[in-house]
Symmetry: C2
């Protein structure tokens, strides 16, 4: 018996989020089903981050205890042969027995993709938000730079437990674009629920000139400010990495 | 009443090909359904190219006659509001009354995408073939160069009507790769059924050293040659453009 850490990738379109829920198709329940085919008898795998319904992952981390007497590549192959097409194990490694993918994580990194087109494009909209008109690159980058640092993000999302802290530290918040494709990458010690999608929505609003640049600063400093409600759609968002202290 | 030419894009995953078939979900039947909502009473739209089940399109061309008294952008918007999420009209223009998208076409261009990874990747496999081990770039490019020109492609596909010509002229056949992503772009006056997928399959076999480079030359010159049967999967293929003489 050893503790295994795996990197999990999934297309979130067909999942009601990451966490197991009764009778709902989730990344966790699919992984647990596949593990049971390998003799796993645990009650629950541990996941590093909770992703909302429709959010994708290329770097979700899951942990479970398993008796496995074959090479790690065989574990990856065996799990993938039991997992459906929209979810796969990318890598596996053995970790120490008390390793916890959520509590031991030092940061999470998400990517949000969007593309600017006036007309629908079915070959791109599964993994990116279609937006029109395009934001202004300087304005959206200025909004992003305000997010960096330690702030109370209460205006951007809700904490895992009501009443717990809404302070988070953002280490990276960067936009780049090429032709009509835009990407936003954001790394923080942890995120509130909906925080990335709300961040993207407000930055886009600033980039399109719908809210003044100072609105975001006000929200981050706890000053009351009326801004449009809304979230960037889930389909543009991917959890790309979870980081741990050097082991 | 005027004749309209539209550029159609679709994610082929949910379609049984392009052409209408009784009780099957196809790109053509979805377009015709949307047109009927705008008062279209024709019996059939015309399509430039037939795409197989699962093949995508970003540049399929369709033609129909319609009475429409609003701007072209309104036609695009109206059709898209009636089309499901996996198919959309990208552009529309008026063409001469006897324009035919298939007979008037001078060439078609397809792109095939693949990526080289030993492990499944659910975020990429919808639009690309996962291949392992990687082909050798020189070998696959050498195989591609043999395809250029006028050849009898009988070994690569079947003609639209049994007994009709299998001679086609390939103007472009190019591979390029970046990191683990590979793309093949091929342009010809017309294609036999399955021709692109068969071409990709055999070039990959040559690139992986499974068949000698001369095998492809033999097939193109009508010399008997035993080669592995098989087709590259449909999900990697996209019809990207159909060209017409300058109007």
């Amino acid at each position: 018996m050893a503790r295994y850490q795996i990197i999990l990738a999934y297309d979130g379109t067909g999942f009601l989020g990451s966490q197991r829920q009764a009778n709902r198709r989730t990344a966790q329940s699919e992984l647990e089903k596949a593990l049971r085919r390998l003799g796993w008898q645990g009650s629950s795998v541990l996941l590093a981050g909770r992703t909302d319904s429709g959010v994708h992952a290329s770097g979700q981390v899951a942990v479970f205890d398993l008796g496995w007497n074959h090479p790690l590549e065989e574990l990856v192959r065996a799990l993938n042969s039991h997992l459906p097409a929209d979810i796969a194990v990318r890598e596996a490694q053995i970790v120490r027995d008390d390793f916890h993918p959520r509590f031991d994580a030092v940061s999470r990194c998400y990517r949000y993709r969007l593309f600017c087109q006036p007309v629908r494009d079915p070959l791109r909209e599964r993994y990116a938000w279609r937006l029109w008109p395009p934001p202004e690159i300087d304005a959206i980058q200025a909004a992003a730079s305000l997010l960096i640092g330690k702030h109370d993000f209460a205006a951007f999302g809700t904490p895992p437990r009501a009443g717990s802290s809404t302070v988070r530290t953002v280490m990276k918040a960067e936009w780049w674009n090429q032709a009509d494709e835009w990407s936003f990458e954001v790394q923080a010690d942890a995120f509130l629920y909906r925080m990335v999608r709300r961040m993207v929505y407000l930055q886009v609003a600033a980039g399109q000139g719908k809210i003044p640049a100072e609105a975001m600063a006000d929200l981050l400093e706890g000053r009351p400010r009326v801004v449009p409600a809304g979230l960037a759609p889930a389909n543009g968002l991917t959890l790309i990495a979870v980081s741990y202290p050097q082991q």
